[in-house]
C-alpha cells in the first residue's frame, strides 16, 4: 500500500514527488543542453558544408534507348522465365550511355549473352546483391560467353550510400557500369518490378529471364548459365 502511494506520488514523468533541485542547477542544465544542441547544429553545418552537389553533376547521365521497351514483369515471384513472362524471347532494347568516367557504354546485340543488373545505391538489397555477383565472378563461375553489366539507377544524393561509384568501387565491382538518367529511362525500358532488377539476355539479345529482388548465388549462376546457353 505504502509502495503504491509512493508510486503514485512520483509516477509522473518528473511532474511531482521530486526532491526539488535548486533552480540554479536547472538553469545551468538547460543552458548546457541548449549549448550542446547549438554545437551539434554547428558541427552538422560545417561537416556538410561544401560536400554538396558536385557529385550530382557526375552521377546521373543521359541514356539513349533503341528498340521497344519490355512489358512490365508479371507478379510471379522473384524470377520470371519462359513459363510466365511474355517478354521472354523478345529482343531487349539497346542501352547507350556512359560509365562513371564518361566513357561510352553500349549494351547492344554483339553476339554475347548478358546479365543486366539495375541497382540503386540506397537500396539495401542491391547492396547485398552486388557482393554476391562479384563473388561469383571472382570464383570463376561466370560463363565465358556472358558479360555482366550494372546500371546505376535512381541516384539520389540525399539518400544513403551515395555516391554509387564510390559504393561500387568499395565492393571492388569489376563489371562495366552504365549510368541511368534522372528519369530512369534505362530502368523503365526493361519493365522493372523493384530493385535490384536483372534482365538475362542470350547472345541474340533476346530475353531469357528476368528477376526482381535478391537471389542467392546458386539461382544467379543458374540464370547466367541459362542466358549463356541461349
Amino acid at each position: 500500500m505504502a509502495s503504491q502511494q509512493r508510486s503514485q506520488q512520483r509516477s509522473a514523468t518528473g511532474g511531482g514527488g521530486q526532491a526539488p533541485s535548486s533552480e540554479g542547477n536547472q538553469k545551468v542544465l538547460v543552458a548546457l543542453a541548449l549549448g550542446a544542441v547549438l554545437v551539434l547544429a554547428a558541427v552538422a553545418f560545417f561537416v556538410t558544408r561544401g560536400d554538396g552537389n558536385e557529385n550530382d553533376l557526375v552521377q546521373p547521365a543521359t541514356v539513349e534507348i533503341v528498340g521497344e521497351a519490355l512489358p512490365a514483369m508479371p507478379d510471379v515471384g522473384p524470377i520470371a522465365d519462359a513459363s510466365n513472362d511474355s517478354a521472354v524471347g523478345t529482343v531487349a532494347p539497346t542501352l547507350i550511355g556512359t560509365n562513371f568516367e564518361g566513357d561510352e557504354i553500349r549494351i547492344e546485340p554483339d553476339g554475347r549473352a548478358k546479365a543486366l543488373y539495375f541497382v540503386a545505391h540506397w537500396c539495401p538489397h542491391c547492396q547485398a546483391e552486388v557482393p554476391v555477383v562479384q563473388g561469383l565472378i571472382n570464383d570463376g563461375q561466370k560463363p565465358e560467353t556472358l558479360d555482366v553489366y550494372a546500371i546505376s539507377t535512381a541516384v539520389d544524393s540525399t539518400r544513403g550510400n551515395f555516391p554509387p561509384d564510390v559504393w561500387l568501387d568499395s565492393e571492388e565491382f569489376t563489371p562495366q557500369v552504365l549510368r541511368d538518367d534522372s528519369e530512369l529511362t534505362a530502368y523503365n525500358s526493361v519493365g522493372p518490378a523493384g530493385f535490384p532488377f536483372v534482365v538475362y539476355l542470350d547472345a541474340d539479345h533476346q530475353v531469357v529471364a528476368r528477376s526482381a529482388g535478391t537471389l542467392d548465388a546458386a539461382q544467379m549462376q543458374a540464370l547466367w548459365n541459362a542466358a549463356a546457353e541461349g
Binding site: A12, T13, T158, R159
Partner: protein
C-alpha cells in the same frame, strides 16, 4: 536548408539522446550515482517532451521538407510519436503554468510508457526490415520500407533515430515509475 546538414544534425541529436539512455540505464544498474542524472531527473518531463517534439517535427521535415516519402511503418511510428508530443507538451504546460496534477498523475507515465514501448517495437522492426533481406527481397521503387533514405555513421537510419527517441521516452518515464 541543406538536407544533409539537417539529417546529420538529427542524427547527432539521436546520438546524444541515446547516450542519455545508456547513462540512465547504467546509472540505474549501479544505484543512481551519477550526479548528472540526478540533475536531469527533475527535468525529465521537459526532456522527453523535447525528444518527442523534435522527433515529430523532424519527421515532418523529412517528409515535407526533404521529400522522403514515409512508408507504412513510418506512419505507424508517427501514430505513436505525434500523440506523445502533444500529450507531453500539454503536461509541461500543466507542470509549469497550472496545477501540475496532470504532470504528476500516474496515468500520464503509464500512457507515455506504453505508447513509447509500442513505438519502440515498431521502430526496431522497421530497422530489422532495413537490415535483412532473404532471397527475393527487393526495394519497391515507390515507397519502400526497407530503403534507407539516409544512413549516418553507418547505422543511423530514420527508424534508428525513431527507436532512440522512443527508448529515451520509455526509459525516462519508466524511471519515474520505478524510482526508489
Amino acid at each position: 536548408m541543406d538536407v544533409r546538414a539537417v539529417t546529420l544534425f538529427l542524427a547527432l541529436l539521436a546520438v546524444m539522446s541515446g547516450s542519455l539512455v545508456v547513462l540512465a540505464v547504467g546509472s540505474r544498474l549501479i544505484g543512481d550515482r551519477f550526479l548528472f542524472l540526478n540533475l536531469v531527473e527533475p527535468l525529465r518531463l521537459e526532456l522527453i517532451a523535447a525528444v518527442a517534439t523534435t522527433a515529430a517535427l523532424g519527421s515532418l521535415y523529412l517528409s515535407e521538407g526533404a521529400g522522403f516519402e514515409p512508408c507504412r511503418l513510418c506512419w505507424a511510428q508517427r501514430a505513436a510519436m505525434y500523440p506523445l508530443a502533444v500529450i507531453l507538451i500539454g503536461a509541461v504546460i500543466d507542470k509549469r503554468f497550472a496545477s501540475g496534477r496532470i504532470a504528476a498523475s500516474s496515468w500520464l507515465a503509464n500512457v507515455v510508457g506504453l505508447v513509447s514501448v509500442v513505438g519502440l517495437g515498431i521502430a526496431v522492426f522497421h530497422r530489422y526490415e532495413q537490415s535483412q533481406g532473404g532471397v527475393g527481397s527487393l526495394c519497391d521503387p515507390a515507397v519502400p520500407c526497407a530503403a534507407r533514405w539516409l544512413n549516418h555513421f553507418g547505422f543511423m537510419t530514420i527508424p534508428t533515430m525513431a527507436a532512440i527517441g522512443f527508448a529515451t521516452i520509455a526509459v525516462f518515464s519508466l524511471r519515474a515509475r520505478t524510482e526508489p
